[in-house]
Amino acid sequence: MTRRTTSRAFGRGFLRAAFCASLCLVTGCEVGVAAEYPDDYYGEYGYPPDAYIATTAPVYYDGYPTYWYNGGWYYRAGGRWNHYDREPAPLYERRVHAPPARRNYEPAFGRARGGFRGGHVGGSGGGHFGGGAHGGHR
């Protein structure tokens, strides 16, 4: 086998690698990490409860309403809850500088009545980022 043959093999291999990486990007980024988690996954990585979704302003990122909950960003797509293992920079910035607001509807047994906390609902409490391939904003 000559060095030229070996070189061609390298070329084909890297082309193959580049193709795989491109394919991965095009098909929605979840190749290889979308496996079903075991039954006890919920206990460790619980997604936001209904009462949380109903009272908390989302941040729109990559076309999805995304919720900061229990130390992570969660969004629902196609009937599945998903989260980011690494916090995207825009979401980090939003969380640090303008945390998502929550709506308190009732004084719970004598606490201060109603109102918001944790930020402002509206343009500054939630927010819109990204746009991505999943829907986007106008």
Binding site: E30, V33, A35, D50, A54, Y64, R80, Y105, G115
Partner: protein, 324 residues
């Protein structure tokens, strides 16, 4: 990371002096590994490291799961405020939908129109709550008056969908696709929380999120009092037609599917008025029966505290406290 380390350790296959055959074998192996590593790294870098949790029909509905007073406040709200039916869920969802600044004026106007469409039902519910509070404080409820008040709330709820006219159409037009998705998610979440807050508590143990569970915690009801409330509630609810959650499920599914779409026509939701009337009618009747059942077994001090709580809800209107 382990894959990268594996690749590096096998990179020694390129050592000088290795035969061409073994070099070719090593190259093939390394090329394959490189493809895998590039694929993995590409995925990770491009996606901000997405992960997918298990497929779910809904989120856990309990306030305890949220573990905070905001969630508990929502449960409390859904125990006592029913007048707007499913439209009230939409209104409440607007509170935290977080629209873009450009949309705020339009959505604020839509929100005001929704509040106006529910005003008659809100007043009817306020009257019912005041009657219940007065009855609890006095230790005696006027059954006929309470029944009339329940009917008035139900009738007012039945016409909300029609009264709101094209408000939902305008809302659909004002929101972006992702905001519509957020709104539908929130409406669904409100419905599931509502079910938990208005759970059937005639069984052996009160649901912690339901009326009896909450009252037991607040007023420190004894086991004997709990048993007597449950027994009286069982008798009282015999005359109330049961609520079929599947009817509301179907209504919300229809709304959600339509509202997430590119076009939306509120006139296609032909069963919304019936769903509102059934849900609100059952809820206020259940509330009245519960208050009646509890009132008969509470001490004077407990009745005073409960009456105060009912008055607080009668006077409290969260829809006036916010703008989107």
């Amino acid at each position: 990371m382990s894959v990268i380390l594996y690749a590096l350790s096998h990179g020694t296959a390129f050592r000088i002096g290795m035969s061409m055959t073994s070099t070719w074998t090593a190259c093939k192996r390394t090329i394959g590994l490189a493809a895998f590593v590039l694929t993995s790294v590409g995925t990770t870098l491009a996606c901000g490291a997405h992960s997918t949790t298990q497929r779910v029909a809904s989120s856990p509905a309990s306030a305890e799961d949220s573990g905070d007073d905001v969630a508990m406040g929502l449960m409390e709200h859904h125990r006592y405020h029913h007048h707007g039916g499913l439209t009230l869920f939409v209104l409440m969802s607007l509170d935290t939908i977080s629209v873009s600044p450009a949309e705020q004026t339009a959505v604020s106007g839509i929100r005001n129109d929704l509040v106006a469409s529910m005003a008659p039902a809100r007043l009817a519910e306020q009257a019912l709550m005041t009657q219940l509070a007065d009855g609890v404080a006095a230790g005696s409820l006027d059954g006929q008056k309470v029944e009339r008040a329940v009917t008035e709330v139900t009738n007012a709820a039945r016409v909300i969908h029609e009264a709101s006219g094209d408000v939902l159409d305008r809302l659909h037009a004002a929101l972006s696709p992702s905001e519509r998705t957020a709104l539908v998610d929130k409406v669904d979440a409100h419905w599931r929380v509502w079910q938990r807050a208005n759970a059937d508590e005639t069984g052996s143990a009160p649901d912690e999120g339901g009326h009896l569970g909450a009252l037991a915690a607040e007023l420190h009801l004894t086991e004997d009092q709990l048993d007597r409330v449950r027994s009286a509630l069982r008798d009282g609810m015999k005359a109330v037609p049961p609520l079929d959650p599947k009817e509301v499920d179907a209504e919300l599914r229809g709304f959600g599917d339509a509202f997430r779409g590119a076009t939306f026509d509120v006139r296609a939701l032909t069963t919304a008025s019936d769903a509102d009337a059934h849900m609100v009618g059952w809820a206020v009747a259940h509330l009245a029966r519960f208050v009646e059942a509890a009132s008969g077994v509470l001490t004077t001090e407990q009745r005073a505290a409960f009456a105060e709580r009912l008055r607080g809800h009668a006077a409290h209107d969260p829809s006036t406290e916010t703008s989107p």
